[in-house]
């Protein structure tokens, strides 16, 4: 059987719009890049398996607490007794009202200390009751 040969079509990727595509990608990554922002004190997070993601970063308050009993919120050391007031103010923030409190607590901290922080959150009430114990992902 005889096959007729197909006519050789022009096979080339159009490169004229390549810079535009690349620019678009570039702008996307420029916008989404967050240079590792670190506000707090160094803590060693515990590991867990069944974990949830936090919804965004806007409405989250971060409480850092290390094993030496220091508490840091928004890059400032605070006393435990101040937490409820700070959380209350954050809840009444008009731009980004508090929804979740992310607790970044060192795995070596004592529960007595953690409970004191939680008592302060309960004192603040409302959205401050929504806590998320920040953890690493445990290896299987």
């Amino acid at each position: 059987m005889k096959f007729t040969k197909k006519s050789k079509a022009e096979a080339g990727i159009p490169t004229a719009s390549m810079p535009d595509i690349i620019f678009m990608l570039l702008i996307f990554f420029m916008v989404t890049t967050v240079f590792k922002e670190f506000r707090g004190i160094p803590v060693r997070l515990p590991a867990a398996r069944k974990i949830e993601k936090l919804p965004g970063k806007r409405n989250v308050a971060y409480i850092y607490a290390d094993d030496r009993g220091r508490v840091s919120i928004d890059d400032k050391f605070v006393e435990i007794s101040e937490i409820s007031r700070i959380m209350y103010n954050k809840m009444n923030d008009e731009i980004a009202p508090l929804r979740v409190v992310s607790m970044k607590i060192d795995e070596r901290a004592n529960m007595g200390f953690v409970t004191k922080i939680q008592e302060e959150l309960r004192e603040a009430g409302g959205a401050a009751l929504n806590v998320n114990y920040s953890t690493k992902t445990a290896s299987k």
Binding site: M18, P19, I22, F23, L25, L26, F29, M30, T32, T33, V34, F35, K36, P46, A47, A48, R49, K50, I51, E52, K53, L54, K57, V60, V100, S102, M103, I105, D106, E107, R108, A109, N110, M111, G112, V114, T115, Q118, L121, R122, E123, G125, L129, N130, V131, N132, Y133, S134, T135, T137, A138
Partner: protein
């Protein structure tokens, strides 16, 4: 005075390397981007002053001492065992409330491990008791 007219040079920005420059920037941002999401164990604390009466048979106490030893009900168990035990107990009684009680000197790590086990067993009714001083 005669000023010689300069030859008109072609004024053009070389755009052939534009794509390369953009590529370079793109790769830089690709590498530096960290889409890090915060993750952790979610829990809703009870509001201040709220206490509920629950019948004793629905409560399963889970005690964690300062050494990280766990006592579930009336037996000592290893932390990785909690999941399967709780799962079984939940199948028997879906109204079960797990009351987690820790010592004031219990390390936070053990508390998270226990909570993780409870979450893996799909226990939703978790009560956090105040640590014993």
């Amino acid at each position: 005075m005669l000023v010689e007219k300069r030859k008109k040079q072609p004024t053009e920005i070389p755009s052939s390397s534009l794509a390369d420059i953009a590529f370079l920037l793109l790769i830089f941002f690709l590498v530096t981007t960290t889409i890090d999401v915060d993750k952790g164990i979610g829990l809703v604390l009870p509001p201040k002053g709220e206490t509920k009466e629950v019948s004793k048979k629905n409560i399963l106490s889970l005690l964690v001492n300062a050494e990280g030893k766990v006592m579930l009900g009336d037996q000592v168990v290893d932390i990785p065992m909690i999941k399967s035990i709780i799962k079984r107990k939940l199948a028997e009684n879906d109204k079960l409330i797990v009351s987690v009680k820790t010592d004031a000197n219990t390390k936070y790590r053990y508390y998270i491990q226990v909570l993780d086990q409870l979450k893996q067993a799909n226990a939703t009714r978790i009560s956090i008791a105040e640590p014993e001083q």
